[in-house]
């Protein structure tokens, strides 16, 4: 297959070479796009450069020039290679006979054209004769083209296969420049075959139009599209016929399997699901020509705004659900997405658990993701356990219910602070020894410190700070306090006079 692909350029170059001798004479500066000159013009241009010099823009231009290519193809068919291709299911013998017939026909046209050239001066006088000659050539060429196309039509699947097989080669660094150039030509050809055949068929025997068509397509690749546009309008009209009568809506009930399929875009005809709308639209083409038009393939937004869509509502397949059409107070779902979300949220297991809070579960992964965005930010918690993302909501809740109050989460920061404090006090309690002071006042107070400890143990939570408490009592007592007995020391008593202190001590 691949070797065969490589052949056409060589063949075409041969053909162009064969025609080259006439081209300089044939060319008329004032009529560059004259029907008969088109091929020659192309050949002359092409001759001026080597193949390697071809730049991409020219490639696209050349893609439309299937006239000469067809010739090359007809020529290539003389070579015996196609037979060994297993994919092709056409009759090579029939093809061969066709091609040889075409060859004869081409020779005839060549002769006519030669005769025109040789009698060029005479024709200047006899315009009628020239016109007749031209008409003859046109008719012959038309016939050739039709034959060629019908012959090539049998090759169509082959071309597609060839494209698929050769495409990877395009990107290869060492790939042949020629091949690179040729492939687009054939791609364009393949895409245009359909339309071209259609055009030719519809045009029938009207030669002028045909020439025009072939000419146009030969010169500009973009030309065929307006013709297709004409077709789309017809298709659109045809689609209108499928619309439902307005006023009542149509209830559609998808099956569970469809709903749970991992897709969001569903074919309204067969129910097949797709991840992307574009894919669905491509799929829709398979349901008929009316879906093939560019308008149908285009994004649906424009279309929707122009034409009012029929009311279509959806029913949940779960019997007994309010969203099920059997329900008394049936409330239909608006879109297929609604159906999907409703069914999953209401009738399916919640299999997605938030990894952070490990309590919230969801059946739809998007819900989980939404939750995860806010999980942990629900810092507004009520004493009843309800969480809120906003403070005012929590306070509204608290105001509404008797006995509810905002909850304060146990923050670890405070625990850290207290432990720091304890450490600091530890450091400071070690200080008096370093300073060498004698804190004799500790003696009277030592008796009390076990009490404090006892209290601390009873309360539990105070135990880490016991050191701190001792510190307050025991630290930095100066000798003066030795004769103070804490039991009977009244802070509001005068502490100055010795007599009162003695009396206190006695008490």
């Amino acid at each position: 297959m691949v070797p065969e692909r490589r052949r056409p350029p060589e063949a075409s170059s041969k053909s162009s070479c064969s025609m080259m001798s006439e081209s300089p004479r044939n060319r008329k500066p004032d009529l560059p796009f004259a029907p008969f000159d088109s091929t020659n013009l192309w050949c002359g241009d092409r001759h001026g450069r080597s193949f390697l010099e071809f730049s991409p823009p020219l490639v696209t231009q050349s893609s439309g020039l299937f006239g000469p290519d067809r010739e090359t193809k007809s020529k290539k068919q003389h070579e015996p290679s196609p037979v060994d291709d297993p994919v092709m299911d056409w009759n090579p013998r029939l093809m061969l006979s066709n091609l040889s017939f075409l060859e004869q026909k081409i020779h005839q046209v060549q002769d006519i054209v030669r005769s025109i050239i040789s009698h060029e001066d005479q024709f200047l006088d006899q315009a009628n004769e020239l016109a007749a000659q031209q008409q003859l050539v046109t008719a012959d060429l038309t016939y050739i083209i039709i034959q060629l196309i019908s012959t090539a039509g049998t090759l169509l699947p082959d071309i597609k296969n060839a494209l698929l097989s050769t495409n990877p080669a395009v990107g290869r660094p060492g790939s042949n420049q020629k091949q690179h150039e040729i492939l687009p030509v054939e791609v364009a050809k393949a895409s245009q075959y359909d339309s071209l055949i259609k055009d030719l068929n519809s045009c029938g025997g009207k030669e002028d139009e045909l020439i025009k068509c072939s000419n146009n397509s030969g010169v500009e690749a973009s030309e065929p599209i307006p013709i297709e546009d004409h077709d789309t309008k017809d298709n659109d009209d045809g689609m209108d016929g499928e619309n439902l009568p307005p006023g009542s809506y149509e209830v559609l009930q998808l099956e569970e399997e469809e709903i749970l399929a991992p897709h969001t875009h569903f074919c309204l005809i067969c129910g097949k699901g797709f991840k992307r709308d574009a894919n669905l639209r491509m799929h829709m083409r398979g349901h008929g020509d009316e879906y093939k038009s560019p308008a149908a393939l285009a994004k649906p937004s424009k279309e929707a705004s122009i034409e009012p869509q029929p009311l279509r509502r959806y029913s949940c397949p779960f019997v007994g659900c309010k969203r099920n059409k059997e329900h008394k107070k049936f409330q239909p779902l608006k879109t297929i997405l609604c159906v999907k979300n409703h069914y999953k949220r209401s009738h399916c297991d919640k299999s997605y658990t938030c990894s952070r809070c490990r309590t919230k579960k969801f059946s739809i992964i998007a819900d989980l993701k939404t939750h995860e965005k806010h999980c942990g930010r629900d810092k507004w918690i009520c004493s009843c356990g309800t969480t809120f993302s906003r403070k005012d909501k929590l306070f509204g809740h608290v105001a509404l219910f008797q006995g509810h109050a905002p909850a304060i989460p146990m923050d670890d920061a405070k625990v850290l602070v207290t432990s720091d404090k304890a450490q600091v006090s530890e450091a400071s309690s070690g200080m008096p020894g370093n300073m060498g002071y004698n804190f004799s006042g500790n003696t009277s107070l030592d008796a009390q410190s076990p009490d404090i400890k006892g209290v601390d143990d009873g309360h539990g939570c105070f135990s880490p700070m016991t050191l701190d408490a001792c510190n307050i009592w025991g630290l930095a007592e100066f000798p003066h306090s030795a004769y103070e007995v804490s039991e009977s020391t009244f802070s509001f008593l005068a502490t100055g006079s010795c007599s009162s202190i003695q009396r206190n001590g006695e008490n």
């Binding site: 403070k391 005012d392 306070f395 608290v398 105001a399 006995g403 509810h404 109050a405 905002p406 304060i408 405070k414 207290t418 720091d420 404090k421 600091v424 006090s425 450091a427 400071s428 200080m431 008096p432 300073m435 002071y437 107070l445 009390q448 009490d451 404090i452 209290v455 601390d456 009873g458 309360h459 939570c461 105070f462 700070m465 016991t466 701190d468 408490a469 510190n471 307050i472 009592w473 630290l475 930095a476 007592e477 100066f478 003066h480 306090s481 804490s486 039991e487 009977s488 020391t489 009244f490 802070s491 509001f492 008593l493 005068a494 502490t495 100055g496 009162s500 009396r503 006695e506 008490n507």
Partner: protein, 656 residues
């Protein structure tokens, strides 16, 4: 010696039963007499313990023992003088006084070491708790509020400047204590409209609400206006509140009597008019520093409050004579008027005012520079019940003006003559006011000993005497004061440079002296300080800045005797490390100490002295230079115990 009184007390107890003793005790009102009672014998002490309802603890170490003794009957406990109180101390104390069943009120103001554990223990131990004061405990937040909320019977709660308190904490309190009647959340800057809304919904019994300086908007007032029992609303400095908010108070659905909207920048006359219209029985209106000029409509609306309004404060307004006349006509029952820093207050205006408001007892005319003796004559003529007169910076007033006041206003208790050109003659006139308790003579440099002798001769009840920069005052003057005014509590002698140790020796007989300022009295030495320390053992604040002659001996005396000293300024004194260590180590109540430019104290001295203070300090002022010389561990320890260190960078200036 010990046994004899014991026996005699037994014999007394044999005749007087405890019931009788209590009956007698109930008739002993004075705290000093009660103190003597306590010292009689064990039986008397016991009887007193049974009748003791309130207790103010000055030193933390005594708390446990005191509670053990008094727990049974105690209803009010004041721990605001023990700033080093923390959770353990509180919990230990509560455990020792296990039966604090009657405790209704506790004051923990400035006890910044108390956390949620302590408060939870408190709420658990005292089921009848009704009032808690946690103001200025800057560490109190939502968790502490939640602990407090367990005390469901709470009626009064003061949380001023609890900086950590948010809407959540407020909601906790609002839900937990629905019986709340008084609530102060001044300076709790985190509280917003949402919190106030919930509070208003949950605590319908609120009578007194202080929401000053909060960042609340008009929306809060909408909910506050629904509090039917609200009587007192303070919203000083709520800059987000404007007239629209005050219009919510127009409906008169609450029973407001006191409204304070001073310093609310966006409040104008029209907002106040709506308040007045809504509340016919408004008694107290403070609109100081709101807007510059009084609108005539507002003044005429005061007529609505003709019978009720007793207090009107107009600080910082432009008040012309006609305005004062209208006020005088409309507010016949006015008892107190504040015209501090009002412009254009003239003699004429004051005359018109007092002509209408004869019941005025308190008149604040601070910085009304235009006033002369005529105004004083008018006041003396009309306001026979005057008790308080503020005349600071009224420089046109002379001695003769006070003649009238002294003769006519015999009930005068408080007069501020700071920066007025008074002489000894004025003191003579003032000495007729035997009820005088507060006398401020700062910057009256013509007042001398003679004047003080006049004062001392008759003003026995004087409690506060301010002689700031009265250069003429000498030791003799102080001797007179010390003999005549035995109850002086606050004495300011700053820059009275002629005072020496002898004067202080005279002062040492003032047993009630709490606050003594000797800044810049550079003749004073340690001898004088020792005398003061020995005699004035209730001293809580002492300023010795620039007393260059005071050395370690003075500090030793202070450390030994003034056990209640809480604030001390020792900057520029010639003290050494030893004295400083002794002072900081032995004074258990010392919270606030200023130690700038102690040139004799090396870094090690500061280090050891501050360590000796054992983390009791709450405020400390030091030179910036020490910041990096002191060990980081020490600074860290101090700060962890709630000490705020102010680093100052001043050049050493020996001349004050």
């Amino acid at each position: 010696m010990e046994r004899a009184p014991q026996q005699s007390s037994d014999s007394i107890l044999a005749t007087f039963s405890v019931d009788l003793l209590i009956q007698i005790l109930d008739r002993v009102a004075d705290s000093r007499d009660r103190k003597s009672w306590r010292q009689v014998c064990r039986g008397f002490l016991h009887a007193e313990a049974l009748r003791r309802l309130s207790l103010r603890v000055l030193r933390l170490e005594a708390l446990q023992g005191l509670l053990r003794r008094y727990a049974a009957c105690l209803e009010r406990l004041d721990l605001s003088a023990c700033p080093s109180l923390d959770d353990h101390a509180l919990a230990a104390a509560l455990a020792s006084g296990a039966g604090l069943w009657r405790l209704r009120s506790i004051n923990l103001s400035r006890a910044s070491g108390v956390g949620w554990r302590g408060l939870a223990a408190l709420a658990k131990a005292c089921p009848h708790l009704e009032a808690v004061d946690l103001s200025h405990c800057v560490g109190v937040g939502d968790r502490e509020a939640a602990s407090l909320a367990a005390a469901a019977g709470l009626r009064d709660l003061w949380l001023d400047k609890c900086l950590g308190l948010t809407d959540v904490g407020l909601a906790k309190v609002a839900v937990g204590c629905p019986a709340l009647e008084m609530l102060g959340i001044k300076w709790c800057l985190e509280i917003s409209d949402i919190g106030i809304e919930l509070l208003a919904k949950k605590c319908q019994n609120l009578r007194v609400l202080d929401i000053s300086y909060l960042k609340i908007t008009n929306r809060s007032l909408q909910f506050v206006s629904s509090l039917r029992k609200l009587e007192d609303l303070s919203m000083v400095g709520c800059s987000h509140i404007n007239d629209e908010g005050l219009q919510f108070l127009n409906n008169g659905s609450n029973s407001l009597q006191t409204v304070d909207v001073s310093r609310c920048e966006n409040v104008t006359s029209s907002g106040l008019i709506s308040v007045i219209e809504g509340h016919k029985y408004l008694q107290d209106l403070n609109i100081g520093d709101c807007f510059p000029e009084l609108a005539p409509l507002f003044l005429s609306k005061l007529n609505y409050l003709r019978d009720s309004l007793t207090v009107l404060k107009l600080d910082g307004f432009q008040v012309f004579a006609p305005s004062l006349k209208i006020i005088g006509l409309n507010c016949r029952n006015l008892v107190e008027i504040g015209l501090s820093k009002c412009k254009w207050v003239t003699d004429e205006g004051v005359s018109e005012l007092v002509a209408g408001c004869v019941n005025l007892t308190t008149i604040d005319l601070t910085c009304c520079h235009l006033l002369t003796n005529k105004a004083l004559v008018a006041i003396g003529d009309k306001c026979k019940n005057l008790t308080c007169l503020q005349l600071e910076s009224c420089k046109l007033i002379t001695d003769n003006g006070l003649d009238c006041i002294g003769t006519c206003c015999s009930n005068l208790e408080e007069i501020d003559l700071t920066d007025c050109t008074m002489t000894n003659a004025a003191m003579k006139y003032l000495s007729r006011c035997s009820e005088l308790t507060v006398l401020k003579l700062g910057l009256c440099d013509k007042v001398s000993d003679e004047g003080l002798v006049h004062i001392a001769s008759n003003c026995k009840k004087l409690r506060v005497l301010d002689l700031y920069r009265c250069f003429e005052v000498t030791d003799d003057g102080l001797a007179a004061i010390a003999t005549g005014c035995k109850r002086i509590k606050n004495l300011n002698l700053c820059y009275c440079t002629r005072i020496t140790d002898l004067g202080l020796k005279h002062l040492s007989c003032l047993e009630d002296l709490h606050d003594l300022e000797l800044r810049g009295v550079h003749c004073v030495t340690s001898l004088g300080i020792t005398a003061i320390a020995n005699g004035c053992q209730h001293l809580t604040e002492l300023d010795l800045k620039h007393c260059h002659l005071v050395d370690d001996a003075g500090l030793f005396a202070l450390g030994q005797y003034t056990k209640n000293l809480r604030q001390a300024n020792l900057s520029y004194c010639q003290v050494s490390s030893m004295g400083l260590c002794n002072l900081l180590g032995s004074l258990k109540c010392l919270q606030d100490v200023k130690l700038v430019h102690l040139t004799q104290v090396p870094v090690e001295g500061f280090e050891s002295a501050l360590r000796a203070s054992g983390g009791r300090l709450k405020k400390l002022k030091l030179l910036t230079g020490l910041r990096h010389l002191l060990s980081p561990g020490l600074i860290q320890m101090l700060q962890a115990r709630g000490c705020r260190i102010r680093w100052v960078d001043k050049p050493l200036n020996l001349v004050p």
